[in-house]
């Protein structure tokens, strides 16, 4: 039962019942409207039900990677009934059809508190797309989202989050990921619309041979404030991390904090933090951090904050493009991150979200 008025908003964040998915989960404010799975070896339950069904979820997974008292948001979440999903993929089960989750803030002024647990068994694979948005009439509210992710040895998880909030919404996602040996975690974060404030800093602990890759695309409009980033801790030998962020400030503020820390031999980490300032009043504060604790470790970063190159702009205008068309093409190109390891459909959804936002803002 999906309210008609909000279909478009959900579509905008990739929650599309019209396309193939291996399962779906939909929350409106605090109510779970759908929790389904269509593939053997994949199980999707409301987290509260999973706590009853599987003692290990309650005992070993909930509030294990994230402490209850980490901050005011985790404290809030720990004192409320659990609303969110538990996704479990059995060992050896590989699913390349995306799983769709939608989190809709429907009532004005509501606080939505979500707690999700993802558990991937050894040598399994899944791709999850989380779309978070408000209904058309809702401009004010708060979303707190706790996500704890456990990847078994050799598992692969593509985790895509698309945010499409409103101008007076505060958003506090808190994420932690345990990347098992030789497992791969790929995170994509896309936020292209106005928001009052988003603060998020997921942390991945990466075991031997594992890898964590964080890609984020943020377009910060006037009066929007993002304090975003990610952290990878390379705990195991030959583990690796890549963090790539593309940030556009169209008169909004973005603090982009990225960190890779490692002390295990053979570990590799690289980050690229690029910022593009469009409006006069925007701020991009890029804070790339590297911490190496072993001689046999290789960590590097590139960071830049600048404006659209006049040379590129006039070059495109000699090709018959208007100023707006040329800017839009350059911005679109700037935000184009070629993500390896995710299904084409997810890349397509990410591209559509970006295209729609850019064409709408030019």
């Amino acid at each position: 039962m999906q309210p008609k008025v909000d279909k478009d908003r959900l579509l905008d964040v990739g929650y599309d019942p019209g396309i193939a998915s291996c399962g779906r989960f939909l929350v409106l404010d605090h109510s779970i409207f759908e929790a389904s799975h269509r593939i053997k070896g994949l199980e999707v339950l409301p987290l509260a039900d999973a706590m009853d069904k599987y003692p290990h979820v309650r005992d070993n997974l909930v509030f294990r990677l994230i402490e209850k008292d980490r901050n005011e948001f985790t404290k809030t979440a720990s004192n409320l009934p659990l609303v969110g999903y538990y996704i479990k993929v059995e060992p050896g089960v590989k699913i390349d059809i995306p799983f769709q989750a939608g989190f809709l803030l429907e009532s004005a002024g509501a606080t939505q508190v979500i707690h999700n647990i993802i558990e991937l068994g050894e040598d399994s694979e899944a791709h999850i797309i989380n779309g978070c948005t408000t209904s058309q009439q809702t401009h004010k509210g708060r979303h707190i989202g706790i996500t704890e992710t456990y990847l078994g040895r050799d598992a692969i998880l593509g985790y895509t989050m698309i945010h499409n909030w409103a101008s007076d919404v505060d958003v506090y996602p808190v994420g932690a990921i345990l990347v098992g040996e030789n497992a791969r975690y790929i995170s994509n974060y896309v936020a292209m619309t106005s928001v009052k404030k988003t603060v998020s800093y997921p942390v991945a602990r990466v075991m031997a041979g594992g890898s964590a890759r964080f890609y984020s695309i943020i377009y910060s409009k006037k009066d929007s404030y993002f304090d975003m980033g990610s952290k990878a801790i390379l705990e195991g030998n030959s583990s690796s991390a890549e963090i790539i962020s593309r940030v556009v400030s169209d008169s909004g503020t973005v603090i982009s904090r990225q960190m890779i820390s490692g002390s295990s031999p053979g570990s590799l980490g690289h980050m690229e933090c690029s910022g593009l300032l469009l409006g006069k009043n925007g701020v991009i504060h890029s804070i790339p951090e590297l911490k190496g604790g072993h001689p046999d470790i290789n960590l590097s970063h590139e960071a830049s904050v600048g404006r659209i190159s006049k040379e590129e702009l006039s070059y495109l205008m000699t090709r018959g493009l208007t100023d707006d068309e040329a800017r839009s093409l350059i911005i679109r190109g700037f935000l184009d991150i070629k993500i390896k390891g995710i299904p084409d459909r997810i890349q397509q959804i990410i591209n559509e979200v970006i295209d729609r936002s850019i064409s709408g803002s030019m």
Binding site: S309, M317, T318, R319, G320, L321, G333
Partner: protein
Amino acid sequence: MELLEIKGLRASSGGREILKGIEFTLEEGRTAVIFGPNGSGKSTFLGSIVGLPKYDITKGNILFKGKDITGMSTYERTQLGIGLAFQYPPSIKGVRLRTLLDTMNPDKEAIEHACEILDMSPYLDRDVNVGFSGGERKKSEILQLMVQMPDLLLLDEPESGVDIENISLIADALKIILEKDKPIKKRKRSSIIITHTGFILDYIRADKAYVMMGGRILGYGSPSEIFEEIRTRGYKECQKCLEEAERENHAA
């Protein structure tokens, strides 16, 4: 009919005057070549015609198809039919060549045809000029002009850094754009070519050659004769020779 008429053009960049009073005309269907040493103002001349914002036109007028375009934006000038192949085109990260061509011209067949002529299909999914060799950049420039099909082509050193095989491809594409297979009177498109080496003239016939030095056009003549003069005697001697010819013209 004159396609381009330039009267007393003065232009500066960063507060420094580069063009110091250019008089120039180009008829429809004709190709002019401009020779000149480094720093003589050749690229500024082409950039001023297409309206690159880094050049300030301080005096004079540019008439294109009878319209005064001196105060027009780059976009407006391109809409009237002016196109430029840059000497040093910038790289644009994230913008695929295919996307740029599609934005310029939605005619897929025209794009395909141009790619075939220039052997550029393998580059379509690469970012514009990113990691391109010098020769590939030049081919990409001509490819873009072939998709744009302007009435006036401004070619800034189209052959520099290009190997012989690829110069020939570039020339083939330019001949198509400039309708070199038609009798002169039936050709509609014109071009101004800047060349250092003159190699391109082995492939594309120019109608008139100009020599530019110190921001001025010193004179004009037959492309082959002027090129030979420069090659054998250098720009300084060529300057003297042109100045003498100019004096004789005035005296006559």
